[in-house]
Structures are given as structure tokens and as C-alpha cells.
Amino acid sequence: MSSSPITNNIRKLRFEHDEMTQQQLAEKVRVTRQTIVAIEKGNYAPSLELAFRIAWVFNTPLEEVFIYQPEDDTS
């Protein structure tokens, strides 16, 4: 699981939503806090379902939560 060309704004969105903690977000999307940490650091690419759940929690379109940067895509 190396760093991927997909970045995210989850940390920023958490702070904008009543300073939600990683644990609180983890409980809402049904994963562990460690998974949220790994996603925020870019060390883990969530499944489509999880990505949609995160976007739904923040009431934000998926493209504003996760950003694909093709210039970083070396695969």
C-alpha cells in the first residue's frame, strides 16, 4: 500500500464539521480509527463503498473529498 495519486480533504472536512474526531468519523463509516488515519495519510485507498460513505457523512460530493492527480499516477 504505497502513496497513491489520490489525495483527500478528509482532515479539513472533519474540522469544518464541528471538529469531528477521527474516531467519530470511523464510527459513522464503520471502520477503525486506524483506517481513517491511513486514508488521511494517503497510505490506504478506500473501497468505493467506503469513499461514498465518507462523502455522505460530510454531505459533500465525492470529487471534493477525494482528488485524483493524474500527474502523480505512475502505474
Binding site: 500500500m1 471502520v31 477503525t32 497510505n43 490506504y44
Partner: protein, 148 residues
Amino acid sequence: MTYLQKNKAVSLMCTVLLFGYYALNVLQLQQSGRLTSISVFSLWATLIVIAIISNIVGVIITYIVFNVISVVRTNEAESEFVDERDKFIDLKGTRNAYAVTGMGVFFAAISLILDQPPLVTFNVLVFAGFSAEIFGDLSRLYLYWKAG
């Protein structure tokens, strides 16, 4: 470390200890000239029983201790869902373990082609089995560490 990481660490320790016990006994049997099929199979059967019991006990103890400490410290109950990243890491570990097992079977077949006694083939397979288990657990621990 999460519960699953601790579980894998305990499982790894158990496997290493059992493998060490097996290797030591086989070496002693060989040095004393008592390395026969019956003695090795008997040792292996003993090991299977010890492995099953120690793994069950190890997992149960880890589970109980971790949950008690977690509940006391966080005042929260254990989560009821299965995390997708944990499943993903577990699958990768299993895949790596199968790869090592496959190599072990390959080398065991080569030992038969080279007209080695069945005892050698058996020991190669046992070694492959232990190595696969250890490599699988190490893979999982590494992936947990790497993913932060």
C-alpha cells in the same frame, strides 16, 4: 497496536516457538540416531495438538486482555463491524503464505525426484508450512506498520 495486530504478533510468536521446538527435537533425534518416520510423525502429532491449544489459548487471552484494557481505558465497547483494511491486509498475508507453501510443495516434489526418503519430503513440507505461517504473519504486521 490494535487487537488484530496483537493477535498476529501472538500468533507469530507461537509459530516461531513451535517451529523452534520441532527443529530442536528433529536435530536431537538425528544426532542420537533415532530419526525414524515413526519418531518424526509422533513428534509432529504432538506439535499439532500443542499448536491448536496454544493458538486458541493465545488468541483468547489476547482478546480478553485487550478488550478489558480497552474498555477500562476508553470506556467504550468493542466495535461490532469488520474493518475493510483489516480484511485487505489479512488477504494479502494469506496470499503470501500460500506462495511460500507452494514453493515448499515444489521443493518437496524435487526431493522425491532426487530419490530422497519420504522423511525428507515430510520435513520439507513441515518446514514450508511453518515458514508460510511465519511469513504470512510477518507480512500482515509489516502492512499494518507501513499503512500507519
